[in-house]
Symmetry: C2
Subunit: 289 residues, 2 copies
């Protein structure tokens, strides 16, 4: 029977409080393989980039984020897809779609979190929803957003791939006690075995993949935050997988499970951002006709 796949263009930026995620998502929609048969739905996102985001309930821009979360949930309920491609946007774009998929596939759904960072912070550690989104899905994270999750994920159904190990240091003891499975980049260089074992042990049939592009090495892929040109230092963990390794991981896992969700998050196309800014200063681009 034919399955229904939809694409969500979700240029959310408030979760990381960085307006460039908006443009990053829009450009991403032109980069991914095109498919005219698949519906592309644009999630309405507040574009008041120049107004400061207030901290509400411990979260920067919580009310804008909540509106967008609610809109996404409603769209998914109406569309009722079998599979979802999500073009982000900050990491928090995964909350509504993964919750929806967990409702559809129940305990058969595994979540593969490809990310240099675990995104399980709480409002004690951070004010940014994009660091909490997986926590929210696990019923932890930010209470405001965790309360919206209808299908709380079991910790054993989650696997971190490409995580920089130091990032798993106990930030919040409660999250740490969840004992989430993970494999550092070094464990995945040769093969995808740690992930395939998790799939088998937990009888994962369907997979939702969160692909934060920052799981990649900035030498391999430069359209991510830590790959900013001329950057000297970076104050967070830097990914070290290659696009080729991620592709192999995903083709390997798709032989054992059905990939029913794929979020691509935190696309930060520096060249495009910088070129657009540069050209907007040049007369032929900024004069009225």
């Amino acid at each position: 029977m034919s399955k229904k796949t939809i694409r969500l263009l979700f240029p959310q930026w408030q979760g990381g409080n960085n307006r460039d995620y908006y443009f990053g998502a829009e450009l991403l929609a032109h980069i991914v393989p095109q498919n005219e048969q698949e519906k592309l739905i644009r999630i309405p996102v507040n574009q008041a980039f120049d107004q400061p985001l207030p901290i509400e309930h411990g979260i920067e821009g919580a009310s804008q984020l909540m509106e967008q979360l609610t809109a996404t949930t409603e769209i998914l309920e109406e569309e009722n897809p079998d599979k979802i491609i999500i073009l982000g946007g900050d990491c928090a774009v995964s909350q509504a779609p993964f919750d929806y998929l967990a409702g559809r596939y129940k305990n058969n759904l595994g979540i593969l979190w490809l990310d240099a960072h675990p995104d399980v912070a709480t409002i004690k550690d951070s004010t940014r929803d994009h660091e909490m989104v997986l926590g929210n899905l696990l019923g932890k994270g930010a209470p405001l957003f965790a309360h919206k999750v209808k299908n709380v994920i079991n910790p054993e159904n989650v696997f971190f791939a490409g995580l920089i190990y130091d990032e798993l240091r106990p930030r919040d003891q409660e999250v740490n006690r969840l004992n989430l499975r993970h494999a550092a980049p070094e464990k995945l260089r040769e093969n995808s075995q740690p992930i395939l074992e998790w799939i088998q042990e937990n009888q994962i049939k369907e997979l939702a993949v969160h692909f934060d592009l920052d799981v990649l090495s900035p030498q391999d892929f430069r359209s991510i935050y830590p790959a900013e040109p001329h950057l000297k230092e970076f104050d967070a963990a830097i990914g070290s997988l290659t696009l080729q390794e991620v592709t192999r991981i995903l083709t390997d896992t798709s032989k054992q499970t059905d990939i029913v969700g794929l979020s691509i998050a935190e696309h930060m196309p520096w060249d495009a951002i910088n070129l657009r800014k540069a050209l907007s200063q040049i007369s032929i681009f900024n004069e009225k006709g």
Copy 2:
């Protein structure tokens, strides 16, 4: 009086015999500052990427290039714009528009060639039209294409900026005798004086700018050929200006002249190219619904 600016989306790839210039141009159209008032015209480009380009009259893919050149010339004659933005595509995209502008602005038109390479090769040196396009405009280059130029450019109306000096070595004595003005990147770091002097001495009133993105340093801008991830060696000159320096040069010159043409050429967005290829191998992107 209101001036008419048009945009040409010209995804020509045959001039460099590299299919990725096609996608590079398409993506560029989404990157440049948007303007709904300006007409965007797509030049029809042959997409038989998998067929080898035969060498005809010393040029790879000459008949396809000629068709595209002719189509562009016809569109310009019909549209009759005052100003043209050209979104390339290989460097040869500049031939028809610059010829048209030279017809319109006569000897008041200066050509500022921002490029690591001089693009004045002849069919004795190369088989690729993108290395010959400025030669063609000067009545040299490839005879097949030079013969199509209606308004041959005077050598004193041309200035090379950001050229890697070694590239000016005598390839073809005839071209070298033209004594084209140039400034290496080092001469332009502090200010744009060499270019402003050329403008004044030659009474340039209007300017056509050819901006080959490879005039930029691969550390500053990575969406160019020599910035390929993991590349060890590169067998041609590598640019060393920054986007900021190019922006300053163009804002400085626009105070003294009217920029009536701007080609942006040889956009090679490695991350986008590699990400699209990677995703096309993953089940959720390549299965039928």
